[in-house]
């Protein structure tokens, strides 16, 4: 029997950040109209599924929600993440050949610690999926390719120290667009060097330029990495009509990209040209996933003569690709301990800004540089929430590949920090046992959840 492309369409017609916010009820309305009118859900190559809810534990496997999951995560978020998980199940069970979670709200700006909404995201749908797949099915190597115009800084943050999750993001150069990060030198922590690849591109990239990046950089890297599962963070704001980005990609360009990338699962991220881009780009991506002819999916505004790439843009693309090709080719020469300057712990201090809610988070992230495993991580994070309350939390995450020593030391640290008066909350995430702990110091209450 021919295997189908699975789709979960969840437009959340009853959920918005605010009435006039880009992330509002209307966002996927015209996409729905176009998909329904095309009769695409009747195609024998496509099967529609209904979403389910990600559990609190599924979210705790990835995030530290401050103070707790229910304070940061609404049902809409759990449905969007649950949709990705549900399709993941179907793909692993080989019931479908690939999938498209055409859902909102998006997730790729949500980082490991969640104090609020960042870049329209609360929880990271792809990360929840990845940790679920690793935990439930033992999937080893996963690649996430972020094709949104914005840097997928949340996804990068979550997998920055994980050598088994390759994160590749191309995006408009951070000097010209939110969130202002995603430069070529952000390559992952010492234990996961070159498992983060950022491809900052100048404004004005056309289909031709994008496919140069695809053919000369992304495809070869994926071929070397040999992932067991490929997730596409399928943002559509590189479209030539998008109000937030300044790129010039077309529906045809996105469809061909999908065809080359062959993701197991595509998850919708951004894209706010809700009339001029989304109905066409979503349709083209879905047709490409299902192996159907998409050659007639042309935007009304599309005029091929207007899509000549500026030579300066082209040469900048070539320069960036060249730089990253070299980094990738020499990645094995990088030594973990040398990258950490010989220190036992590798430390980053990160100011994190939550644009939607004007929250400023101060974070210190410390990773143990370990010869046996990626090392456990402690995060000291503080922020004032919109309600005026100040939260200072300490979170420990033990990686799924943790060695015995890192696991024990992680738990010891948790026990110690429980008595540290500086922190209101202490959390521990042990991915090697799928355990989540939370301690409210003032109330002396401890919660535990096991997968």
């Amino acid at each position: 029997m021919m295997k189908k492309t699975g789709i979960i369409f969840f437009p959340a017609f009853d959920w918005a950040i605010s009435a006039t916010h880009p992330e509002r009820e209307e966002r996927l309305l015209y996409t729905r109209d176009q998909m329904f009118e095309e009769g695409i859900l009747d195609l024998p190559e496509i099967e529609e599924f209904s979403p389910r809810l990600a559990s609190e534990h599924d979210i705790c496997r990835v995030h530290f929600c401050v103070p707790s999951v229910s304070d940061q995560v609404l049902e809409a978020h759990r449905i969007a993440a649950g949709a990705a998980m549900h399709l993941g199940d179907k793909i692993i069970a080989k019931q479908i050949k690939n999938g498209f979670a055409l859902v909102r709200p998006p997730g790729h700006h949500a980082m490991r610690v969640v104090h609020g909404n960042r870049g329209f995201c609360n929880i990271n749908n792809e990360a929840v999926l990845v940790e679920y797949l690793r935990r439930t099915y033992g999937v080893k190597k996963i690649a996430i390719v972020d094709t949104d115009v914005h840097h997928g800084d949340g996804t990068q943050d979550i997998f920055y120290h994980d050598p088994d999750v390759l994160f590749i993001s191309f995006h408009q150069d951070g000097r010209t667009i939110y969130p202002g990060t995603g430069f070529t030198y952000e390559l992952g922590g010492p234990g996961a060097y070159a498992s983060t690849i950022n491809i900052p591109l100048p404004p004005g990239v056309t289909d031709a330029g994008l496919h140069y990046v695809m053919d000369h950089l992304i495809s070869p890297i994926l071929a070397d990495f040999q992932p067991d599962f490929v997730v596409n963070s399928a943002g559509q704001d590189n479209h030539f009509t998008d109000p937030l980005g300044q790129m010039r990609i077309t529906a045809q360009g996105y469809a061909r990209l999908t065809e080359k990338l062959k993701p197991d699962l595509a998850v919708l991220e951004g894209g706010y040209a809700i009339e001029t881009a989304l109905p066409y780009v979503n349709l083209a991506i879905l047709l490409a996933l299902a192996g159907k002819d998409y050659s007639s999916v042309l935007e009304p505004e599309y005029n091929p003569d207007r899509f000549k790439e500026n030579p300066k843009v082209t040469s900048e693309i070539h320069r960036v690709v060249g730089e990253l090709q070299e980094i990738w080719a020499n990645r094995h020469k990088a030594d973990k301990f040398a990258l950490a300057n010989g220190a036992k712990y590798y430390q980053r201090t990160k100011p994190i800004y939550y644009d939607t809610q004007f929250i400023e988070e101060k974070q210190i992230e410390k990773v143990r540089v370990c010869a046996q495993c990626p090392g456990y991580i402690t995060i000291d994070s503080q922020a004032y929430h919109p309600d005026g309350k100040r939260y200072h939390v300490l979170a420990i995450t033990i990686p799924i590949q943790a060695c015995k020593y890192c696991q024990e030391e992680g738990w010891d640290a948790y026990e110690q920090y429980k008595h540290d008066y500086r922190f209101n909350y202490v959390y521990l995430q042990d991915k090697s046992t799928d355990t989540f702990m939370m301690y409210r110091r003032e109330e002396r209450q401890e919660f535990r959840s096991d997968g």
């Binding site: 959340a12 209307e26 009769g39 209904s50 007639s296 999916v297 009304p300």
Partner: protein, 560 residues
């Protein structure tokens, strides 16, 4: 007194209801000419009762279904305006298609104008091919019918005698390929259906029946016969609706029941959820074509009382086809009915012949007739139960597009398994036991379908879309597209939808059925451009309550 008639593939069933009581029933064999069966059934029912006493006649007909299945409909030339999107080249294999330039978008804006020069070419193509029936369908024509109207008008101008159907009239919902099917089939069957409707009126007149005549639809609603002539496709697939409504009338109100209708070659499964038959989320499928016809969610299992049973090696296998009657009724091969006869679970047919059928299957491998019979019945029950489980999984997978829809989803489990149809008594108690439900075999189960037709009532829907930025509104069911005058808020949009429902009722002469109006959907979308709200989109759905005219008897519960 009400009459209900269900014209099925093999049998035509009829009942005469007087208040909540069954006055008469009739069962005749369905003839090649449906009108003969209809006449026979009426005569059987009316014996001695004057035709004037009849207040209402509802029947379900398979005429359009048969026309389509046997491809006996008239050839149609198809003009498509697909615009950007899917290529739709596969439609060339089904229909004779001519593609035209021109496109409308999802909000009804013209994005590519018509090319007038192409119209002459299209016309010549139709003339050369000898078509006199033409279907014109544009993508998003339900949001703006200007292109379809222009093309149809051009053809009518040159050939006023041709029959031209337009997509926005034949299929008002979103789904271009299904709209194509609706339009082509409407065009192809309209004449033959009209002939049939005239003959029905004639048959009624000859029996002095002057009552209103209605046709049952696949969603369990009814249409006045004259109205159905505009939309003959709406009459397909009404058989399962008939038996489901019958069960609804024969069981207590408000319960959740699984309806198991075991026929000759198929078993139809339907669900009555808290007293209301469950609607399918997508339109009915006829042959290999998807339509926009609203239907109940029915699953067909290809097994029934007349299915052929064979032995392959040591294994007993039930095939999906029917070769003739059961062996005990003089048929050529063993069937599940023979097994039931041997087990004493039915009194149909000759017991010795039934036993002979079982012996024929079992003797070569040393199985006794009773053992064979048990095996066959077990197989049938397994097949049906497996399908029921699968069906519940599918219903749980029905898409949900709103947060509240996902949250309110719960596991569906029936209280009752209600059996109707010939094989019900033999199989339903065991099916119910497997599912942990109460088996019910209602009185009049063999004519439950005709009872369903008799108690069915007209249902009217209106889906209204209003766009205050563009100052337009659309009534999907009417294919109407109008201009808004002045401001419109949500309450105004609901009122507008209701007023169109009343208009529709009046036009169909159904005002007496519109005592209350339900709002089944009200979505409001802010149209925001550059962070400013520039308008609102209202999607409002209203309908008359679904349901039946009344319950029969005690809403019977014979078996506990």
């Amino acid at each position: 007194m009400f009459i209900g008639i269900d014209v099925g593939g093999t049998c035509t069933d009829a009942v005469l209801l007087d208040g909540g009581a069954v006055r008469a029933t009739a069962k005749v064999e369905t003839q090649e000419d449906l009108l003969i069966s209809l006449g026979d059934a009426l005569d059987n029912l009316l014996k001695g009762i004057p035709g004037e006493k009849i207040q209402r006649v509802v029947f379900s007909t398979t005429i359009v279904t048969n026309l389509i299945a046997e491809k006996k409909y008239d050839p149609v030339g198809v003009l498509l305006l697909p615009g950007p999107g899917r290529t739709f080249m596969e439609f060339r294999q089904q229909d004779d298609v001519f593609f035209l330039t021109g496109a409308i978008d999802y909000r009804g804006r013209e994005i590519i104008p018509l090319e007038e020069a192409e119209l002459a070419k299209a016309l010549r193509w139709l003339e050369d091919k000898g078509y006199q029936r033409v279907a014109v369908i544009g993508k998003f024509s339900t949001r703006n019918n200007a292109h379809e109207l222009r093309v149809a008008q051009y053809i009518k101008q040159h050939h006023p005698e041709w029959q031209v159907e337009m997509g926005h009239r034949a299929g008002g919902r979103l789904n271009f390929p299904r709209r194509i099917t609706n339009t082509v089939l409407t065009c192809a069957t309209r004449d033959k259906y009209h002939y049939f409707a005239n003959a029905v009126r004639d048959a009624m007149a000859r029996r002095d029946i002057s009552a209103d005549v209605f046709i049952l639809k696949a969603d369990g609603g009814t249409l006045p016969l004259t109205v159905s002539e505009q939309v003959p496709v709406e009459t397909i697939f009404s058989g399962p609706a008939a038996s489901t409504l019958g069960v609804q009338a024969l069981t207590p109100a408000g319960e959740t029941s699984l309806v198991v209708d075991i026929g000759g070659t198929t078993t139809d499964l339907a669900l009555i959820l808290s007293g209301q038959p469950l609607l399918a989320s997508r339109g009915a499928k006829i042959g290999d074509r998807f339509t926009q016809v609203r239907a109940l969610a029915v699953h067909s299992v290809p097994v029934g009382g007349d299915s052929v049973v064979e032995r392959v090696g040591k294994e007993i296998i039930i095939y999906s086809e029917r070769v003739g009657h059961a062996y005990c009724l003089g048929g050529p091969l063993p069937t599940p009915t023979d097994a039931l006869r041997v087990m004493g679970m039915t009194q149909i047919g000759d017991e010795d012949r039934a036993r002979e059928a079982m012996v024929r299957l079992g003797a070569p491998v040393g199985m006794g007739p009773m053992e064979v019979a048990h095996t066959i019945v077990g197989l049938v029950i397994n097949t049906v139960v497996t399908e029921i489980e699968q069906m519940f999984v599918e219903w749980e997978q029905e898409p949900a597009y709103r947060v509240w829809e996902v949250l309110q989803k719960k596991k569906l489990r029936p209280q009752n398994v209600v059996g109707v149809g010939g094989g019900a008594a033999g199989f339903v108690p065991q099916i119910a036991a497997r599912l942990g439900c109460t088996p019910i075999l209602p009185p009049y189960a063999p004519v439950a379908n005709a009872i369903g037709a008799a108690v069915a009532r007209p249902t009217l829907q209106v889906n209204l879309l209003a766009d205050t930025e563009r100052q337009i509104f659309i009534v999907e069911e009417e294919g109407y597209q109008g201009k808004l005058s002045g401001k419109l808020d949500e309450i105004g949009a609901v009122e507008l939808a209701k007023s169109w429902l009343m208009k529709r009722a009046e036009k169909m002469n159904l005002l007496e059925y519109v005592q209350e109006i339900e709002i089944t959907n009200r979505d409001v979308f802010n149209i925001v451009r550059d962070w400013r709200t520039t308008g609102r989109l209202y999607h409002i759905s209203v309908q008359t309550p679904r349901g039946i005219l009344g319950h029969i008897g005690s809403g019977g519960r014979l078996m506990k």
